[in-house]
């Protein structure tokens, strides 16, 4: 058996990586992105199946950016802003967190503002983040968790080649009720 050398992840936290796909650029978020980001984070419909309440003030979005910057500073997580190349708009996010160089795994998350649903943007972005985690960071397993009623997110996971591995029944409290989660994962060949 070939020896597995734990990857040194710190180099990915020196300069924020930028990724590119046919229609999208995945890049570090900055304060100028706050208005675009706020459109996503303040929409109760997109917040329905995710464990946060829709933001009611722009200050909430600014605070979120602060937390994202902290995660990067502490070399714990990335959140890519998903920018549409054609108009430079930030249409969503995809993040990588719980990075483990010991076990070579990470958790991926994603979200897209409602006006951009239905064009395959999220799948395009998430595929690229998975490719980055496998090929560039040297990860072996990428996991995602979503509520069992979140059909759109389930489809993104499946289109990206992720497999349903577990159903965590009544695993979380979200907006005043117990919700169940699916665990999806993709393992490097």
């Amino acid at each position: 058996m070939s020896r597995i050398i734990p990857p040194d992840l710190s180099r990915f936290f020196e300069l924020h990586p930028t990724l590119e796909t046919e229609r999208l650029r995945l890049r570090e978020l900055t304060t100028t992105d706050v208005p675009d980001l706020h459109a996503y984070y303040s929409d109760p419909e997109t917040a329905l199946y995710v464990p946060f309440t829709a933001f009611t003030s722009i200050a909430d979005t600014e605070k979120l950016l602060g937390r994202v910057a902290n995660g990067f500073e502490r070399k714990e997580s990335f959140m890519f802003g998903v920018e549409r190349k054609s108009d430079g708009k930030i249409i969503g996010i995809s993040d990588l967190f719980n990075l483990s160089s010991q076990h070579l795994h990470a958790v991926i998350g994603w979200g897209l503002a409602k006006s951009y649903w239905g064009f395959g943007y999220m799948t395009e972005a998430v595929r690229e983040v998975i490719r980055f985690a496998f090929e560039e960071m040297g990860m072996h397993r990428i996991e995602a968790e979503c509520e069992t009623e979140n059909i759109r997110s389930i489809r993104v996971a499946e289109r990206c080649g992720m497999t349903l591995e577990a159903t965590r029944v009544e695993n979380e409290i979200n907006k005043g009720r117990f919700v169940s989660n699916y665990v999806y994962a993709i393992v490097r060949e």
Binding site: R3, Q102, L104, H105, R141, E165, A166, R168, V169, V183
Partner: protein
């Protein structure tokens, strides 16, 4: 009013369990806080490769490793993230294993159980007895809604404990951990209050 009758979705207030470490009792066992006096009993099983084959921590090579464990373990209790218990056999007073709540998440009313047992005490139902009590305590006293546990895919004994305690297999995570140079699949179990 017992917490179990509180059906609110607010985060659980578990402060009383962290102000005074709970002590639990079953027919044959006492589950109590670990102390430095347990170091030799812990070393006995923590240095046994047959026992540590399925655990995430490295086999103890000397009692110094055990002392380091006993010194670091209370930090997670102080942070209110976990509660660990020494499993003491009432009959002899010997500490035969360890169990506890590894992840305590009051926001989601959930926790996770973990355990390990000295090989000389396998096959006597001790671990099932201890885990039954942990589950009862989590639901009835802490007010938890969900208790989870995981084990290596090929750890048949551990899976049997979970099943005897009424837990349900919710799935298998492929290549979930990298241990001693190979990837390990893990079984994910859980039980809900009232099941």
């Amino acid at each position: 009013m017992p917490l179990s009758e509180n059906n609110s979705f607010e985060p659980l207030d578990l402060s009383r369990f962290f102000e005074k470490h709970p002590v639990l009792e079953t027919e044959r066992l006492i589950l109590r806080p670990r102390t430095m006096a347990d170091k030799d009993d812990i070393f006995e099983y923590a240095s046994d490769p047959e026992v540590t084959r399925y655990v995430i921590w490295p086999t103890h090579r000397s009692v110094e490793d055990t002392i380091a464990f006993l010194e670091s373990a209370p930090k997670n209790f102080a942070k209110r993230e976990s509660i660990g218990f020494a499993i003491e056999l009432k009959e002899t007073g010997k500490m035969i294993g360890d169990c506890g709540f590894l992840r305590i998440e009051p926001k989601h009313h959930r926790t996770e159980i973990g355990y390990v047992l000295n090989r000389n005490f396998w096959s006597k139902g001790y671990m099932t007895e201890a885990v039954h009590e942990l589950i009862r305590f989590a639901f009835k006293e802490m007010g938890m809604h969900r208790v989870a546990a995981t084990c290596d895919f090929d750890n048949v004994r551990s899976a049997a404990v979970m099943e005897r305690c009424g837990m349900t297999l919710e799935g298998v995570h492929r290549d979930s951990e990298l241990r001693r140079g190979r990837f390990i699949a893990k079984k994910m179990y859980a039980i809900l209050k009232g099941n």
